[in-house]
């Protein structure tokens, strides 16, 4: 049972190892806890999970292993409300059919059958990634489901109250969630960590002392110091649906601005062309030519694009494709110039990663960036920052 639990945890991406497992067994052996399910839940959580971002996943695995409740990681457990079943039944069967069925058995039996059928269907849906599906059986399709995955209204299948691990109170700490005000702080710390790379010199006291002792005269040693030397160019897609995200990203980076040696913001719309602007109100009059940017800021700048990259593919690939003006050169050409000038370039995309494949322009843009497109989640931000620091020009 417990080994099975360990396997499930690992399958769900929680890095639990034999070491933790033995620790848990030792704790059980020494009777650290009273023998209640809650205490066991707390103990195993304290042992296996070392990152609050994984707590929610742990809760799901726990309820799966110890309850046999059907869940899929990342999706919410689903229960089918009674009255909704009735509504569906009425939609599925005509009046005569209903009469016929009623003749076959009791209403409850029919309900049971229908419930089973719907559950099967639900399973198939979870296998795919249809988010708003037909017949209202997808997790987000019907008002009968709470999108947080906590059952509301009426009794559940087993008529019992929610257990601690089923409340999923750590759901908003999950590190695959989109950035919001809640986890913006954590994101900021990740940025800071990214900013604190780079080398300079400081006095190495220990080496100086040992050098002096050995040489017999003052022998000064210097060593690399960690300090803020990161320079960043930020290109933000403004206008339309992106604006709330852009605001978030702007806030994020300006809050971290003290950590960077240089931070420059520029705006563009949909795709980068020959001009960008700094003041969105005067985007027509005060444009900065992109050539000037490429010439002015050195190769050691890190470039971060933020945008959803969803547009007509022509806006990237063809001259004159822009929706706002006539662009003599294609957006792709400009993107290539940027990636050639700045080896460290990433694109942060606020739309969920699973949707990227459905947008052709996103795919094109991703290829242009050599796959360096990351979702705007803590994990994505982390990966993006790693990518930026990895590249030493």
């Amino acid at each position: 049972m417990l080994l099975n639990f360990l396997d499930e945890l690992r399958a769900a991406g929680i890095p639990a190892s034999i070491k933790e497992h033995l620790l848990l067994l030792e704790a059980l052996d020494k009777q650290v806890i009273e023998q209640t399910p809650e205490a066991f839940y707390y103990l195993s959580r304290a042992t296996y999970v070392k990152d609050e971002g994984l707590l929610d996943r742990f809760d799901q695995v726990f309820s799966k292993v110890f309850k046999g409740v059907l869940t899929d990681y990342g999706q919410s457990p689903v229960d089918i409300p009674e009255d909704w079943l009735k509504a569906v039944a009425e939609r599925y069967f005509t009046q005569e059919e209903m009469e016929k069925i009623k003749a076959l058995g009791s209403w409850d039996e029919i309900m049971e059958t229908l419930k089973k059928r719907l559950e099967e269907q639900e399973k198939r849906h979870q296998g795919g990634n249809k988010w708003v599906g037909t017949n209202g059986t997808s997790p987000f399709g019907h008002s009968g489901y709470n999108p947080e995955g906590v059952r509301i209204g009426g009794e559940g299948k087993h008529g019992r109250a929610l257990k601690v691990w089923e409340q999923r109170e750590f759901a908003n700490l999950d590190n695959t969630k989109e950035l919001g005000t809640r986890n913006i702080k954590v994101a900021l710390r990740r940025l800071r960590r990214f900013a604190r790379e780079g080398a300079a010199e400081e006095l190495d006291l220990d080496a100086t002392i040992s050098g002096t002792a050995r040489q017999g005269f003052l022998d000064i040693h210097m060593r690399a110091e960690r300090r803020n030397a990161v320079k960043v160019l930020l290109f933000l897609d403004v206008g339309g649906s992106m604006d709330p995200f852009i605001k978030l990203v702007e806030e994020l980076f300006s809050a971290a601005t003290a950590e960077f040696k240089n931070l420059e913001f520029f705006y563009f719309h949909n795709c980068l062309y020959e001009g960008v602007w700094k003041n969105n109100a005067r985007r027509r009059t005060e444009r900065t030519p992109t050539w000037d940017i490429l010439h002015k800021y050195g190769h050691d700048y890190k470039v971060i694009f933020v945008g959803d990259a969803s547009m007509s593919p022509y806006e990237i690939t063809h001259p004159g494709g822009s929706v706002e003006h006539f662009n003599p050169e294609a957006g792709a050409t400009w993107m290539q110039r940027v990636t050639n000038t700045y080896p460290a370039t990433v694109w942060l995309n606020p739309t969920p990663e699973r949707q990227w494949d459905y947008s052709q322009s996103t795919k094109v843009m991703r290829e242009l960036l050599g796959d360096n497109m990351f979702p705007l989640t803590l994990e994505g931000l982390d990966a993006a920052m790693r990518e930026l620091t990895r590249k030493k020009h």
Partner: protein
């Protein structure tokens, strides 16, 4: 030896289990959580509850792992050598004990608090792996081996500024102190201000949770801020109706200095008040 919370500290069930597991098995307990939810205080309370002395090691960005073990003061020895001081012949005179050494050799079982471990260099936790695992280390200068008679209780706090290495995490129990819900908060307040008026607390808590929910706040007030604020309200003898009949055009709660810790947040509230006035 069981930790059940103290009369000054409300411990939730999951926290108690984590602490007891760490105390019984003598593994380090890693505590994370929002600032102001009582991570550091926990170590103090464990030491009080178990009647064990507390040894605090506050970590800074410049702290090195070996400073927790011992430091060899080569400069002082060099100076003494040049001045012809007699002490120079015994190397033990120049070895300063660190907090871990202190904890290992303490006459009574201590609680060792390693506070804000994430402030230090990324290698810091790795450098302490062996020492925390075996609870022993060697002093190379004298060839001495320092071993813990009894494994001390180790509490480590982290603010999540850096990720801790896996190998280090594997050796710890982990607990994330989440922000207390209203019931727990009520308990916490009862513990800190036993005689306080119920209506005042109720009102104050409403305002407090409202403030926490204002979007775009740079620093959300936490438990310690609420406690400070209540203390202020009581000290100032704030009449209850100031809290009760709140004018929507004055969005800033009275004595807001205890709740809002930076000027942008205060300005945000002033803007909200201004908007409320305009709409009203």
């Amino acid at each position: 030896m069981r930790f059940e919370g103290t009369k000054n500290y409300v411990a939730t069930d999951d926290l108690k289990v984590a602490v007891n597991a760490a105390v019984l098995l003598r593994r380090p307990l890693l505590i994370k959580g929002e600032p102001g939810t009582g991570k550091t205080v926990l170590a103090h309370e464990i030491s009080k509850a178990l009647n064990a002395p507390l040894i605090e090691w506050h970590i800074k960005s410049t702290t090195k792992a070996h400073q927790g073990l011992y430091e060899y003061d080569a400069v002082a020895r060099l100076r003494d050598g040049q001045l012809g001081d007699e002490r120079v012949h015994d190397i033990n005179n120049y070895i300063r004990k660190g907090k871990l050494w202190e904890a290992f050799t303490a006459p009574q079982l201590p609680v060792l608090l390693i506070d804000e471990i994430d402030k230090a260099d990324i290698e810091f936790p790795n450098d302490l792996l062996q020492e925390l695992d075996r609870m022993s280390f060697d002093v190379y200068e004298t060839g001495e081996r320092i071993e813990a008679k009894e494994r001390p209780i180790v509490v480590i706090t982290s603010n999540n500024e850096k990720e801790l290495p896996d190998a280090f995490l594997r050796r710890c129990f982990f607990h994330y102190i989440k922000f207390p819900d209203r019931e727990t908060m009520q308990e916490i307040i009862d513990v800190h201000f036993p005689g306080i008026q119920k209506t005042l607390v109720k009102k104050a808590m409403e305002i407090f949770y409202e403030v926490r929910e204002v979007p775009g706040l740079k620093k959300k007030p936490s438990t310690s801020e609420l406690l400070d604020w209540l203390k202020l309200l009581m000290n100032e003898d704030m009449p209850l109706d100031v809290l009760q009949n709140r004018d929507p055009t004055k969005a800033i709660p009275p004595l807001h200095g205890a709740l809002l810790k930076n000027e942008q947040d205060v300005m945000l509230f002033e803007r909200l008040a201004f908007m409320a006035r305009r709409n009203g």
